[in-house]
Amino acid sequence: MEYNISKNGTYSVIMLEGEVDLYCSPDARKIILKELKKGDDMLIDLSKVSYIDSSGIACLVEGYQVANKNEIKFALLGVSQGAMNVLKLARLDNVFTIYNSFDDIK
């Protein structure tokens, strides 16, 4: 898994790339939780994620929970079909705020 952190407006954008599985999701978790400490609104860009498993989804859930507790906006961006299938299976597709692109963010 590769990652990249950038800024877009008020959002801190974490782009995850490749496979987010049992072996690298601990890294994804650390990155997300560390970035959330800065207090910026957060977008997790999943458009380049080829595969995400339950451990990756669990990291997103924890990030969402921490963000909510600290009144930080937390949303997903460019969710691929594969990732969406996993979110739907866990019935999380209606829990997360999901944007197709930056243009959809108001």
Binding site: P26, R29, S54, S55, E62, N85, L89, L92
Partner: protein
């Protein structure tokens, strides 16, 4: 060129003592396929499953999973390979001294270094998937048969296996719960790209979930094909299974008497 099958069985023959249980079985499981292994009681279905998991050694023949021959694998490699496999056993095989949640999390604790919070969320996600949200603190003896099957399934899929084995998902369940499990199996295939091997004697369930069906009878693979091919089969044993026709064997008198009397020299 076709993809390498996720599971491949070549000329598998096995015995319990002198009794031949499986005879020259050849079959494969494709990636993202649901293969249903059907047959009556004692047809060798569960034995075949145990061989596919590398739990039993065959008399002859080979089993390959993910392109690797189980017979020639070192124990550590076999352990690593099994992390890509989930198994939901017929009776659930839950640890009665552990809560539902502890049972489901166990494979993660044994095989990963995930943070405890991640594991807890994963366990709760799987409970949501099997429609048992909030049951994590119950003990197995507080669950119904259908719930035990679903907890066993949640544990089998906790590591998001590429290959899932499900032994008799419908056995002992009412038709509604059974249908729910069928739906769940189809959902898992679609959402997680799993390859799934289901062992069952329930023809209705097989016809609903299978991409292909393998029919076993007395340890022999009598037919393998699509649902349509099985439905339209003219093989007498397959027709008996589909039409639920009881077997009426007329024993040879001499053989029968020999069987009845040989053990204790009556």
């Amino acid at each position: 060129m076709e993809d390498t099958p996720i599971a491949l069985i070549k000329n598998l023959t096995t015995h319990y003592d002198d009794v031949e249980i499986l005879s020259d079985i050849n079959l494969h499981v494709n990636t993202n396929e649901i293969l249903v292994i059907m047959g009556g009681s004692g047809s060798g279905k569960s034995t075949l499953l145990r061989h596919m998991l590398g739990l039993n050694q065959p008399t002859s023949g080979d089993v390959e999973l993910f392109g690797q021959d189980l017979k020639s694998m070192r124990m550590q490699d076999l352990c690593n390979l099994r992390q890509k496999i989930g198994v939901s056993f017929q009776g659930g095989a839950l640890f009665n001294s552990m809560t539902v949640g502890e049972n489901i999390i166990l494979p993660l604790k044994e095989h990963t270094k995930l943070d405890d919070k991640t594991m807890q969320i994963m366990m709760r996600i799987k409970l949501e998937v099997v429609n048992l949200a909030g049951f994590e603190n119950l003990m197995p003896d507080q669950l119904s048969g259908g719930m035990i099957k679903r907890v066993a399934l949640a544990r089998a899929i906790i590591m998001d296996p590429a290959l899932l084995f499900f032994d008799e998902p419908s056995a002992g369940l009412d038709p509604v719960v059974s249908a729910e499990l069928d739906e769940l199996i189809l959902t898992l295939k679609g959402a997680m790209n799993m390859s799934i091997v289901v062992v069952t004697h329930e023809i209705e369930s097989a016809m609903k979930i299978a991409d292909r069906i393998a029919v076993l009878d007395k340890g022999k693979l009598v037919q393998i094909g699509t649902k349509e091919e099985i439905r339209n089969s003219d093989h007498p044993r397959v027709r008996m299974l589909i039409n639920r026709i009881p077997e009426n064997i007329q024993p040879d008198s001499d053989e029968y008497m020999e069987r009845l009397t040989r053990e204790n020299n009556i």
